[in-house]
């Protein structure tokens, strides 16, 4: 695993009123962040998100109708690990990394 891969956070934004990322959806929202470029506080937030066990990877139940969910994926020596986080828990630097794309 290269150093760059180890520090790369892959980001996908799903849901919302338009159902981003649904099967057959013509719109998707992807991005990536180099963890080394985040502030200490944001990096710690990300670490806490991934600190849980495998249950953290289960989609949480959003309580905010039509809000986005962020699927954050990190490559670890054990393979890729993904956590799903409501948009209001995601640091701005990560939220701002995604680009909406029409397929």
């Amino acid at each position: 695993m290269s150093d760059d891969t180890a520090h790369k956070l892959k980001v996908e934004r799903k849901g919302g009123l338009a159902g981003f990322g649904s099967p057959n959806s013509r719109v998707r929202s992807l991005g990536s962040v180099d963890l080394r470029t985040l502030s200490t506080a944001d990096r710690q937030t990300v670490e806490r998100m991934f600190a849980g066990d495998s249950r953290s990877a289960s989609p949480p139940r959003p309580v905010r109708a039509d809000a986005f969910q962020y699927h954050l994926t990190m490559t670890t020596p054990q393979g890729e690990k993904t956590v799903v986080v409501p948009e209001d828990h995601v640091p701005d630097a990560i939220r701002d990394s995604v680009q909406d794309e029409l397929l």
Binding site: L17, P23, R26, R64, A67
Partner: protein, 343 residues
């Protein structure tokens, strides 16, 4: 109501709090977070209980506040809510603020005139809207207490306040929160989204004075941006044809195509089609007949966070017979709608 919406489970927080290999500061933070989890959970349970307990009183409260107030805030392209108060939004020079104000008031008028409902809680709750949320934000949402609108990126989407069905959709999430209290996963999630599409579309038809036969049954056609239009995207969803390839996110049309874990904006396709089919089968306005049936189930079934689509279908069949005894075509059409999607 089930309360499992934390992204770090309480058991993990407790384990971290007791892990002596971690720094004291981190252990203390984990401990405090676990306490907060409990408090938030209790708060939500109390909120649900309060909503349930207040329902019998709502008829009396309705007289205290006959028309809900509508207020608008400007988030000024930040993530901070609600933002700065917009003074006199009804005459604001900001078209987004003016639309959010005017259309929220019109949705309230629709609910009051057609369904005798006073605001989202049927007790005159103030309708709160924030416009200009974040930058290039391609979304609108109901966050549990208020409506939030993005400006769109100007390419795929334009200003989300531009769609009166969008505003009706978001406000209906509030109505659902105070009635069925539907969850946001599986059947209940799909129903939750479908109800917002149904009432959002009905509101749009009511404003345009369209019968069910005249309506286009498209959701979000007014917020599609120029780049998406160039690529033949006409709307977010088509209630009359969920699989329409010109929609931004084509949906399934049969209940059998749904499976657990799917996005509620995907699984709303079959119940949307059932509603649209039922409405189109009865000559006249959707809100006069089938809309009344759907609303009756929303306000009489009680809190059903895990409601299945089959349960909702059964209740609408029963309500159609009860409410329209002298108009059997309504029950027949409701039945045909559900049968079309396999329920």
């Amino acid at each position: 109501m089930s309360c499992t919406c934390f992204f770090v489970p309480k058991s993990v927080l407790e384990r971290l709090a007791n892990d002596k290999t971690l720094a004291a500061e981190l252990r203390r933070a984990a401990f405090e977070s676990s306490l907060l989890s409990d408090l938030l959970r209790q708060s939500r349970l109390q909120h649900g209980a309060f909503i349930s307990a207040s329902r019998p009183l709502s008829a009396q409260l309705e007289e205290l506040a006959a028309q809900p107030e509508s207020v608008v805030f400007d988030a000024n392209h930040t993530h901070t809510l609600p933002g700065k108060t917009v003074a006199n939004p009804g005459s604001s020079s900001d078209p987004s603020a003016k639309r959010a104000y005017t259309q929220a008031a019109r949705v309230a008028e629709f609910y009051q005139t057609i369904f005798k409902r006073n605001s989202v809680d049927n007790a005159g709750a103030t309708l709160v809207s924030s416009v200009h949320y974040a930058r290039n934000y391609n979304n609108a949402m109901w966050n549990g207490t208020q409506m939030v609108y993005g400006d769109g990126d100007g390419k795929i989407f334009i200003d989300f306040t531009g769609g009166n069905d969008v505003i009706g959709h978001e406000l209906t999430h509030g109505v659902t929160q105070y009635t069925l209290q539907l969850g946001y996963e599986d059947d209940a999630g799909g129903l939750n989204e479908s109800l917002s599409d149904c009432f959002g579309s009905m509101f749009r038809q009511w404003e345009a004075k369209q019968t069910s036969q005249q309506a286009d049954w498209l959701i979000g056609s007014d917020i599609i941006g120029p780049v998406a239009k160039e690529r033949n995207v006409t709307c977010l969803r088509n209630m009359a044809n969920p699989a329409d390839p010109r929609t931004l996110s084509p949906q399934p049309a049969k209940y059998s195509q749904l499976s657990p874990g799917m996005d509620p904006h995907f699984t709303s396709g079959p119940p949307n089609l059932a509603f649209c089919t039922a409405c189109k089968g009865v000559p006249g306005n959707s809100w006069d007949t089938v809309g009344q049936v759907w609303y009756h189930v929303m306000v009489t079934a009680g809190p059903k966070p895990q409601m299945t689509m089959a349960d909702f279908a059964g209740r609408t069949r029963q309500a159609a017979v009860q409410l329209f005894e002298a108009k059997p075509e309504v029950a027949k059409s409701v039945d045909a709608g559900w049968k079309l999607i396999g329920l």
